[in-house]
């Protein structure tokens, strides 16, 4: 088996709160192999977005090492491309200028970067929209612009934080197809942060289930579904089996999260009255 391209080794992140430091991510260790699609799934508040930010180099961790191809990283790394959950296109740039942004930072001449940007715009299915502004596009299209922009930087590892969370279910399934297709076409190593089980099973080679607060690795589920895949796979028996398996792991964590949220709501309501 090939050496892992990304190694997350014993990462600890804690935040200072009024009630003292709270560990958001607690000794998380895993790795990602070249070309692999790995999803990190967990209930809200399990620290999966924290993992995303630590790997992306946007958040510092108090313990552990993140390394890419054997090289420990410290801050944003050129081999890692991030796609954010939030709306993140630049509203003052056209689609093509948005996608060409990372190339522009690297000082590529305009003609060359536009050519490459066009390639990735076509890849996400937005050919013909090059000169539109994000404000003229739908939410799903804008998210594809963000994806194309990150792909244009040609990262070794594509890191996505719930990129479709704000979209409706149908758009989300179709976009999932698109991502899957691109990932298979480019053999793109991908790390997807999500709370959506079907999305994770549909796309992943492995799914890492995280525990609720503090975020630890609960289990890693291998998904042996045939490739190439598309959203059609959701109707197969094997798919249902995997969804049930992941849910059985996730259920306990999710209900702990829910109880915690309820207790918190009760607590604040008690303080208020």
């Amino acid at each position: 088996m090939a050496d892992p391209i990304l190694v997350v080794d014993d990462i600890v992140v804690s935040f200072d709160t009024t009630e003292g430091p709270i560990a958001a991510v607690d000794h998380v260790t895993f790795d990602v192999r070249p070309g692999e699609f790995l999803s990190v799934i967990g209930p809200s508040g399990c620290g999966k977005s924290t993992v995303f930010n630590v790997i992306g180099g946007l958040l510092s961790h108090s313990h552990g090492i993140v390394s890419v191809s054997g090289e420990a990283i410290n801050g944003p790394h050129k081999s890692i491309g991030m796609v954010f959950q939030e709306e993140s296109t630049f509203p003052w740039r056209t689609v093509i200028d948005n996608v060409a942004f990372p190339l522009e930072l690297n000082g590529l001449p305009r003609r060359e970067r536009n050519e490459r940007a066009k390639h990735f715009i076509a890849m996400v299915g937005l050919a013909g929209f090059e000169n539109r502004y994000p404000g003229e596009l739908s939410g799903g299209m804008r998210q594809r612009v963000s994806l194309a922009r990150t792909l244009a930087s040609e990262p070794k590892i594509l890191l996505m934080d719930e990129p479709f969370a704000a979209l409706d279910e149908q758009t989300r399934l179709l976009l999932g197809d698109k991502v899957l297709q691109i990932q298979q076409q480019l053999h793109q190593t991908t790390l997807l942060i999500t709370h959506n089980i079907t999305e994770a099973v549909q796309m992943s080679d492995r799914i890492l289930v995280m525990t609720y607060r503090p975020g630890r690795v609960k289990r890693i589920v291998e998904i042996h579904l045939p490739r190439p895949r598309s959203s059609d796979i959701v109707s197969s028996d094997a798919f249902g089996h995997y969804v049930a398996e992941v849910w059985s792991d996730l259920r306990e964590e999710a209900s702990r999260g829910m109880e915690d949220a309820e207790r918190h709501a009760l607590g604040t309501a008690g303080e208020a009255s």
Partner: protein, 262 residues
């Protein structure tokens, strides 16, 4: 009401829609009342000059070379004031907006000094920079600094944080962050700040010219007043008014306000 709103919006641009008609009506009414008062003989001589004499004065003004010289002096003063005061305001705004520490330390001063009428510092400016255009530029720049700095500082804090994270994730250098993310993300507050800054720079500069100077439009206006050449005074006021509107519209256009969505 909604239906009427739609109607007027649709009809905008057509010469005879209700909104345009109301606008024209109030201007026409003002002109008629003005002319009636002028002819009534209730006021001393030229206090309310006839429209015709004002029109003649405007014509005389616009066909006269010296007027353009004074206009140029004032424009250059305002331009320099905007450049200096606005530039420093932009830098100060970015620093204050970018650092919670600095904003806690200094922004209160800006809020107190901002609304202070800067004309009270004019004597100081005259002592430091003399009677010529330099003291006008200094006063205009001082006026312009505050609205630009406050507007940019507020704008800096309103930048969508995810855009900054995008820039960082692509490893943009600090200079690239400023030029390619911070400044364009703040284009609306910056243009707004410059607009406000332009307004107060105009006020500061002209006020200073009327107080003590030897050239510029403000000086000519007060000069016309003191020699009781009232039609000429009104003519200059009208020309200045139109120019101020034009520049304001131009700044708005340059900022692309309304053109860019979201």
């Amino acid at each position: 009401m909604a239906a009427t709103g739609q109607l007027t919006r649709k009809a905008a641009g057509v010469p005879f829609d209700p909104v345009t008609m109301l606008r024209v009506a109030i201007v026409a009414a003002t002109l008629i009342v003005w002319e009636a008062l002028s002819r009534s003989g209730w006021f001393y001589r030229d206090v309310i000059p006839s429209l015709w004499s004002i029109a003649k004065a405007v014509y005389a003004l616009l066909t006269q070379g010296t007027f353009y010289f004074d206009l140029g002096v004032t424009a250059a003063e305002i331009g320099a004031a905007l450049l200096i005061g606005g530039g420093l305001g932009l830098v100060a705004g970015i620093l204050l907006g970018g650092s919670r520490f600095l904003s806690q330390a200094y922004e209160t001063y800006l809020y107190y000094l901002g609304p202070t009428p800067k004309i009270i510092f004019f004597p100081v400016m005259i002592m430091w920079f003399g009677v010529g255009p330099e003291s006008k530029v200094a006063l205009g720049a001082l006026s312009c600094f505050f609205p630009v700095a406050l507007s940019v500082a507020a704008g800096m804090r309103q930048i969508d944080k995810v855009l900054i994270r995008v820039g960082r994730s692509f490893r943009a250098r600090p200079w690239q962050m400023i030029v390619k993310i911070y400044l364009p993300a703040m284009r609306h507050p910056i243009v707004n700040g410059i607009r406000l800054g332009f307004g107060v720079a105009l006020i500061g500069t002209l006020l200073a010219e009327t107080k003590l100077s030897n050239m510029g439009i403000g000086f000519r206006i007060i000069n016309a007043y003191s020699t009781f050449d009232i039609p000429r005074m009104y003519a200059m006021l009208i020309v200045l008014f139109v120019l101020a509107i034009a520049v304001n519209a131009l700044i708005g256009r340059l900022g692309g306000l309304g053109a860019v969505k979201r």
